[in-house]
């Protein structure tokens, strides 16, 4: 089963690499990953879907929380949360199957974003399993091309975000004897 991890990270060079590095160092292959700025442009929200052995999950979240650039990492797999994904796809639709395809699209709440003589471009959102089904059905109509957006998740609980305050540092003038070294 896929684990869904939500992270609030500083929007800084290398932050993504640090988070994914924890996964790759343990040999995990990331199923999907999304990152985008939050309301605060200095922060990004990241959602990762990845399969992790159960006994490693807590440990990995702790390690993510240890990263300096990570403000909060939360395992949303078993927590109250909503997970959604966007999928864009092109379906070849010859004359005889166009109506059927549109009907199916309607059932899954998908929108037609482009229509040509060859077929449609469709946009659908939903939870991951529902989109899997939608893709399977569309495949039965012929050749399709799919781009999935990756899971995005939001927790339904408000979890208190604990941030560290500024620390005084660097203001002290070097002492002259220290400057001269011990030896």
């Amino acid at each position: 089963m896929l684990q869904i991890i939500s992270l609030l990270v500083e929007n800084k060079t290398g932050a993504l690499m640090r988070v994914t590095g924890l996964l790759t160092a343990r040999g995990y292959n990331i199923d999907s990953l999304t990152v985008a700025r939050t309301l605060d442009p200095e922060l990004s929200r990241m959602t990762i879907a990845v399969e992790i052995e159960p006994h490693q999950r807590r440990q990995l979240i702790k390690h993510m929380n240890k990263l300096i650039n990570v403000l909060q990492a939360t395992d949303l797999t078993d927590a109250p949360a909503v997970t959604r994904e966007l999928v864009l796809m092109r379906v070849r639709a010859p004359q005889e199957s166009r109506t059927a395809i549109l009907k199916e699209a309607e059932i899954f709440g998908a929108r037609v974003v482009d229509s040509t003589l060859e077929g449609f471009a469709l946009e659908a959102t939903g939870d991951i399993e529902k989109l899997d089904e939608f893709i399977d059905i569309m495949r039965s109509y012929g050749e399709i091309e799919v781009t999935r957006g990756g899971a995005v998740a939001v927790s339904l609980e408000s979890k208190k975000l604990r941030l560290s305050p500024p620390v005084p540092r660097g203001a002290e003038e070097p002492k002259s004897e220290e400057k001269n070294g011990v030896i």
Binding site: E10, G14, R18, I68, S164, P166, V167, R169, G170, A171
Partner: protein
Amino acid sequence: MSGAKILLECLAREGVDTIFGYPGGVTLPLYDAMYDNPIRHVLVRHEQNAAFAAQGYARSTGKVGVCCATSGPGATNLVTGLVDAMMDSIPVVALTGQVTAKLIGSDAFQEADTFGITRSATKHNYLVKNINELPQVIHEAFYIAASGRPGPVLVDVTKDVFQGNAHYTPVTSIHLPGYKVYTEGHTGQIRRAAQMMLEAERPMIYAGGGIVLSNASEELRELVELVDAPTVCTLMGLGSLPSEHPNFISLPGMHGSYAANMGMYNTDLIIALGVRFDDRVTGRLNAFAPHARIIHVDIDPAEISKIRNADLPIVGDLKRVLPKINAVLKELKTEAGDRTGLRAWWKQMREWKEEHPLKPVVSDTEIKPQHLMQEIDRLTQGKAIVTSDVGQHQMWAAQLIRFNEPRLWINSGGLGSMGFGLPSALGAQVANPDQLVVAICGDGGFQMSIPELATLVNFGLPVKVIVMNNGYLGMVRQWQELFYANRMSQVTLDSFPDVVQLAGAYGFKGRTVERPAELAEALQTAFSEPGPYLLNVRVSPTENVYPMVPAGGAINEMVLTPPQPAEIRK
């Protein structure tokens, strides 16, 4: 002010007095600024040794060690030393030069992706391409390296930042909102921990490197005496409780003493302080302390229940948490009942100690490695700084040399880097110019760091280098003997140099001893030499380290003597 000068000013404000480093192309502007700067630069002979020397400095003082290397090969040579510092939680700041910002990614001369390469080798790392960020980054680096669970931090600075000019405004504060350091410990948990300690019938204190890092030795000693529990110190924790303290048992684990391992197996409460249940300590996990509950105090929440589930976890700084536990212990101890169980436990512990003590083997015909360690112990009296390489000599030194204070025993515990002994001794001697510093090296590890003999002479560092020379990569040979049908593959180290000539070539004294009768006098001569000294001790080539818990074995099933299957204890 130039970026190079700003950097040095920030280092001075962090109290840096010494940098271990090696210059190169892109750090030219930095080295030019160092030319008339009061910070002392120790020119090592290889960048890896700059990182090891910075660790020797940090491990012996508790201050942040600083090393410096140029871009490309300079930076990649630092990596082993950084991972080593990461594994043992040693505060080190590494400064590296990077090619000019606009050349990054162009395969420029001596370009390497240092930021990417060192991501997993450090606690945190930085790439500075903007001179205005430099002061903030330097102060953050020192704060991160030294606070919480310490570790190495690397700052990669592009050449144009060193060369650039900016108005320097001193930093007054830094803000790392996502960097959480938990120090105080949970009051309720602390109370419960103290209760558990007094209720236990067979408690064991398992103290590690965290005690040393947190400077909590005094607090540990008080706890040990209040609980009156037998105490084992890990390889990283040796000296955190004086070796001569009556409650000190020894090292636990793969080459721990019989009493330590039997204690850890039979205990009903492990009081784990600043340790990480390393596989070399626990042996086979399902046979490690099977009857015990676990109290685990550590500053790093990720260590709690990582290997062994903690029945009572406390996340905090031992320096802050131990006094609180001690206060509750004092309060509860008056009402605590008669601890008869504990008396029986001590009786058992003494029996185990007498049954199989860590007794040095001594022979009249050849120098036994244990004999060498015993003599070093006799001459240093638990007061010298002793560094080591990695392998058999490291284990014998840890078993047989006393350390009556923390920060005296310096070795590569987690990573097990050969070649660590000499450069770390160099760094420790720079920080402690008046103290006796002994580097115990294997003949393998020594040859990995030979170039630093020049640094000793160059900087007048009177390190005593003792090579325990058995002509083998002894620990690997021991495993080949025991587990690979004695097929000794690539472990013979022939052509060891003549040390009289070798030391002589560098301009100091060296000597080889082979006969047991000469050993004490030779060591005495080495230790009383005002300058550096190289003593090559030819020891019995096939001696093995015992006791030994074979890999994957249970800690109560130690091999106590050379392999005779009937004697392996069940």
